[in-house]
Amino acid sequence: MSDDNDFLRVTDVSKWYGDEKVLEDVSFEMDRGDVTVLIGPSGSGKSTMLRCVNRLAEAQEGSILLDGEEVLSPDLDVDELRREVGMVFQGFNLFAHLTAVGNVALGPRRVLGLSETEARERAEAQLERVGLGEQFDSYPAELSGGQQQRVGIARALAMEPKLMLFDEPTSALDPELIGEVLEVMHGLVDEGMTMLVVTHEMSFAREVADEIVFLDDGRVVERGPPEQLFDRPEEERTGRFLERIASHD
């Protein structure tokens, strides 16, 4: 089914909240440089799945191998894992008391142990990368939603992650601000970043994804390359979901 070079291999992951099963035997895998997009109705477990990869949520069963290492192992240094896996949040979650540069520099300074100057230089470079060269010293409250999310992306990139997780990065944005964030994400794809993305932006998914995974009720209903999944879905549920999304757009 897959070769040994899989960079991220998720196998039969299950998770419960109390009695409620939110993930059931979820499996998929990605190679280095791949972009995988998780889609599905709200409450289908896609965000939870994403969070299991950097252990912000704990899966109770299954295996997640990242670069050959077991993520779910109880002995794993979770902070070390998160150092290597960047995450971008739906609600941005920018540190409210720090400027754009401060937000991006905190990780390099305190986690990677860079000097004050090095951390600042790295932060500025990352902010330039996401097109915020003018907003270095603005506080989150002084930035638009789109700008805030780009700071969020820069903050994750500054740790030089080997995998980036995007949890509905544009869902909290006004429609006219979505484009600038997707543009930055496009750029990352072009640079060959490995990305696992939860999103409702279907045209973006179609353009950049190597594989689409459709989740419903905590299970993988169908997965495949975008042209197959979007144009010739094999499962009835996938088709219904895509229709519903399309009629909303």
């Binding site: 008391h97 905190l106 986690v111 903050r155």
Partner: protein, 308 residues
Amino acid sequence: MASATRPAAVRERVADADRSVGRLLLVAAGALFWGWLVVSWVNRWLGGVIVPVGQPLVPPGAVEATFGAIPGLAAYAADAAFVVELTPELSRGTWLTVVITAVSLFVGFLMAVPLAVSRVYGRFSAWISLGYTELLRGTPLLAQLFVLYYGLNLASYVPGAFSGVFARDVVWVAIVGFTLNGAAYQAEYIRGALESVEEGQITAGRAIGLSKLETIYYVVLPQGLRYAIPSWTNEFVYLIKYSSLAAFITVPELYYRADQIASETFRYTLIFVVTGVTYLALVLTASKLMEGVEDRVAIPGLGAEREE
């Protein structure tokens, strides 16, 4: 419409002018108050370089004469001279009040931060913290001072290094009492503020690889402590006022000295009104000071939406 708004606008402007005059008077009074205090203290420390120690900065006779010369104030000339005569004792007492408050507040803060953090994020330590704050907040401060002073006779256990810093060792007992008590109240305010820091802030901190403790230190505390400033100011003000209870364990601070003079001279009204005004001046200074601190450390967007 225009005619209806104009008088309102005029009234508004008059009110504004009133307010700015009021502000100016307040600033002038504050400057006079602190000028008097600081000069009196310096004079005492330097052994009476300006006037002999124990003498008022201005001769009471001169004040009486000045008041007597102004029509309308002449009736108060004797009272004014009496108040001036009190000032050396009052400034001495105020010094202790200020020192006790400042030291207790500062050390109490150092205790309160870990207490609050363990209350919010600890497991076992949360219970210890809860027990401590509930116990200290559930009993009267005066009873706590009595426990330390009469019950434990703490005054005779002041270590050599601290003994002699103040004229009476009992001052240390008061400082210990206010510190332990204030720490409980401060912890409660800081706890509330920490809890109002959004969950997402912690998630984001953890997501870039900060440990839990690092996230608290670099992300939660800088925000939480800013949120805590207004309620913390309350505690500051409370402490200034409640420091007067130290008098009941014989600490010669402001209230104690006022009380002594009153029982000698029987001029209760004047003396306690002047004492009250002195406390009021300290309290107003503290809240102005904290307003300034709040502005200084303000960050756009932080705390603004907290009203909701």
